[in-house]
Symmetry: C2
Subunit: 308 residues, 2 copies
């Protein structure tokens, strides 16, 4: 197996890592040229500009995960249905034939994963790759994984396969409440740098965990401000606690077991603290989960389809 160009290409950014044969990171690049900034047909050009030189190495392959495989992406990689393990994912890699001739047969996209509950589908793209990476990094075959973000994913793995998952719109709801709701009048300007207030955050988590719904707990941001009980700066952390606490309240948490948190450090640490308040330990992983995930998927694909 040669070098792998591993790419996590989402809605708002493209992050790339050049990996050696063992999967170790040789070099990193990132750019805000996410899917939402690219017109149809424009992906090959962005790819060449950002990482084309890395593909000039003989035998280098590229594997991509994320929204780059959606209908609005470079090439659509249809969803792989749960339960989905490395074999199912590797067998469903989508070749990118729309690349330069010299790249053909060397670039592929990881499929997203879908599941269905009570007649309602759910989908993710990119998070499945991080989960497979986390499993490999931690030597696990089972567990509950949370990937916090605009749309958090809670992923249940059994026997090395993704059995089920749920999308929680917590990041987006926080942003809507923070910027566009009546609560914004009680908070600092949305783009201001505000220091995290751990005590206020924890009070929010506890209020959410003992509350019934964010619809109800959220109004406390306004009344605490109205009665001068909490400063505007503290209320921003309190609201974050309310939203993350609500996310935990509605999940069945495995008491005694650990939840693996894969995400940006600051947000992941907030989830770890909130999980701690709920009585559950967390294990934190960052970008390494995506790179390892792409490495193990590529390794499995090479095993399934050895080159001629």
């Amino acid at each position: 197996m040669n070098r792998l160009l591993a790419i996590d290409w989402g809605s708002t950014s493209m992050r790339a890592a050049l990996l050696d044969e063992a999967g170790a990171v040789v070099a990193l690049r990132s750019t805000p040229r996410g899917m939402l900034t690219i017109a149809p047909g424009g992906f090959a050009e962005v790819f060449e500009a950002q990482v084309g030189d890395w593909m000039d190495g003989p035998g280098t392959r590229c594997l991509m995960a994320g929204m780059v495989g959606s209908k609005q992406g470079w090439v659509e990689a249809p969803y792989c249905a749960c339960p989905a393990g490395l074999d199912e994912i590797a067998a469903a890699l989508q070749a990118v034939v729309e690349a330069r001739p010299s790249r053909r047969g060397r670039i592929a996209i990881v499929p997203g994963v879908s599941c269905e509950r009570d007649g309602v589908p759910d989908v993710m793209r990119g998070e499945e790759t991080q989960v497979f990476g986390a499993l490999d990094l931690l030597g696990l075959h089972d567990g509950l994984f949370v990937l916090p973000g605009t749309h958090s994913k809670w992923v249940m793995v059994e026997g090395g396969r993704i059995r089920d998952f749920t999308t929680v719109m917590s990041g987006e709801l926080y942003d809507l409440l923070r910027r566009h709701s009546i609560l914004s009048r009680s908070l600092p300007p949305a783009d201001a740098e505000v220091a995290h207030d751990a005590a206020a955050f924890e009070r929010g988590v506890r209020a959410a965990l003992s509350g019934g719904s964010l619809l109800q707990t959220a109004f406390s941001v306004r009344t605490l401000a109205l009665f001068g009980r909490m400063s505007a700066e503290a209320l921003a952390s309190y609201l974050s606690g309310l939203v993350i606490g609500e996310e935990l309240r509605c999940r069945p948490l495995p008491r005694g077991a650990k939840v693996v948190i894969v995400g940006a450090p600051a947000l992941a640490r907030r989830f770890e603290r909130a999980l701690g308040i709920a009585g559950v330990a967390g294990v934190l992983l960052g970008d390494e989960a995506a790179w390892r995930g792409l490495h193990v998927i590529q390794a499995r694909a090479s095993a399934l389809f050895p080159e001629a």
Copy 2:
């Protein structure tokens, strides 16, 4: 007791009713000159322009409820703490001395009501008046009342006094999700006229009642659209059902008893249907609750403070 000019002056509108001695409506007027459209010091002028002629009748008094009594209103009427009955409210009416000399001593504002739970205050202005009107209209002294809206209020009455209440930000959350979230891409334009789809609404209510949090159920709007399982028009009603169902899910509902719903007819009927799905009967009231409430508060005030 003479004629009463009863005014419900909220954030976005001013609605006025001229009532006879028995509390029957003689005439109605309304204007979009709500509190948010009026600069500080500008209330007397709007009052005169809209209903000044009604005050020229000898002995006519005016009683107002709603945001007109807030810090940003005409005159602040401090909150009356729970438990709050007609006596407490009538004793705390706030005279408006900033009116024309000929009006002095004849215009007053109903105080809002506050309560506190687990160190968190809650407040309402205007809804208390509708609740007292509903109690009188229905001959009740106890019950659970819901006043659906941007910020729904759930009000518990015992022995004729408001014991406790909760604010639920359902109307505002619906609007944020409908207009500003990723879900808006799967829905008709926010200002388009969309027919109510009863079946989709009920499916949303049931999904919310059996779900854990709107944070989680809301994403189904996107996935049902993505998989072509529901039309954009139906999804608007489905989302409404998800939000109203979530509001009911987090409330302890009195099985066997009835919930009194006070609100605009179309929204009140949606709540009645959702309550029915949850196994609880509803009783519907509209504007008459506010007019009756102002009438009974004024009557109580006249009894407490007979004119010299």
